[in-house]
Amino acid sequence: MTRPAPDPATDPATDPGPTAADGDDTSFPLARTCPFTPPDDYAGMRERADLTRARIPSGKRPWLVTRHEDVRAALSHPAASSDARNPAFPALGDGEQVVAAELRPFIRMDPPDHTLVRRMLVGEFTVRRVRAMRPAIEAVCAEQVEYLLSRPAPADLVADYANRVSTTVICRLLGVPLEDLEFFRRITSISGSRDSTEEEVGAALGELFGLIDRLIDDKAKDPRDDLISRLATGPLARGEITRHSLLSQIGITLNAGHETSRNMIPLAALALLEHPEQLELLREDPQLWPGAVDELLRYLSVADVITLRVATEDIPLSSGTIPAGDGYIALLGAANHDPGAFPEPGRLDVRRTQRNHVAFGYGTHQCVGQNLGRLEIEIALRTLFDRVPTLRSELALADLPARSSSAIFGLDEVPVSW
């Protein structure tokens, strides 16, 4: 575990609290040793008798919650606040803190505001609605795998397949025209990075919001069968949401919907290539695919550090109490690799029966698009391995460039041949 010496020069704005010892702070976020698994140091934190205090780049010192039962409890507790306007909110980058407080995407809101926005969206992602999207997603994956194969090998599994699949699926659902598949990738690489300044994030999101703003106008006049049309002619027209908020909510839905599966699909494909016996099980029995997707979600935990909260009251956990007023990060990857919940958590096992992982979070903020995410990842992987049975990675795992400063973990580039 990294234990930096106390640094009196760091912003002392956050009250360390009576239980914290400065010398015990862990510098956070931590890097992954292996691109597949959350940082090794999480194991030590889970076994500690008390909560770990982190020091994040802003100088704030949120608590780190790591055990499976504690992460679930800390995310479903009524005193878990997601409001980024609270000065104790532990955003990992300063840009994110300012922009989230200003734009208020619903992932950074509390009830009753959060409930209002979430209920405008959940009907789009029900189990039944998502099941009906299967043929359309299969068609997208079939088309994009041919694009991949049309590229000279080695091709890039991120740019030439996963990004195209995830962008196409979410844009069609929202009703965003598909003119520039790299556009959203560029925007999210800036808006989702903790290295970006407030100005950079603002400029990138300004570009995105300009596009959405025009679409809202177009669809209010000429509605189609898509989410932006339904929001423009429904809640916006009825005055249930402001235009400013609607832009943010559509923006976060687009970003989250595209970045998560874009990062998951190449990592999951690599994980299966690295575990050929698991891939073989899936080839022999395709009925294992849905369970395999949940196992890959658990194993890879790409959204590990997205769940940032502030305790509005004391939150008691098995590993200690988060005092009222303090920020904390419920580490999804740490919970998903807790041996108390998942025996041999470091083993990828597509036949694993425990599926109560928290890869999509927990509590009222649990991913609104998770049913779509599961289906999209499943179809993207099945299509890839069915159509390209000789797929292989061109680089060793250690040589693959990682998006280490991104809110959602992923690889920048995955060169593959066949």
Binding site: R118, V122, G123, E124, F125, G363, V368, Q370
Partner: protein, 73 residues
């Protein structure tokens, strides 16, 4: 919650608390559905012993506490 081995259960759902994540439908499609707005619809409050495991899984997976399982009484 109950812990006796093989017995029936009584389910309760609270649409006001529901986050619309659809986890109950994934766990037990014979016991739960979602309405057009994504909120929980309880299909069977009284769970026979053979559906007990699915019902408990649904209560466990529910992220918002909208699904709870109780002793039948």
């Amino acid at each position: 919650m109950v812990s006796r081995p093989v017995t029936a259960l009584r389910l309760e759902t609270d649409p006001d608390t529901c986050a619309g994540a659809g986890q109950c439908v994934r766990a037990a499609p014979d016991l739960f559905d979602q309405d057009d707005d994504g909120l929980v619809v309880l299909l069977r409050a009284h769970v026979p012993p053979e559906a007990r495991e699915r019902a408990l899984t649904a209560a466990d997976w529910c992220p918002s506490g909208a699904v709870t399982a109780h002793d039948p009484s």
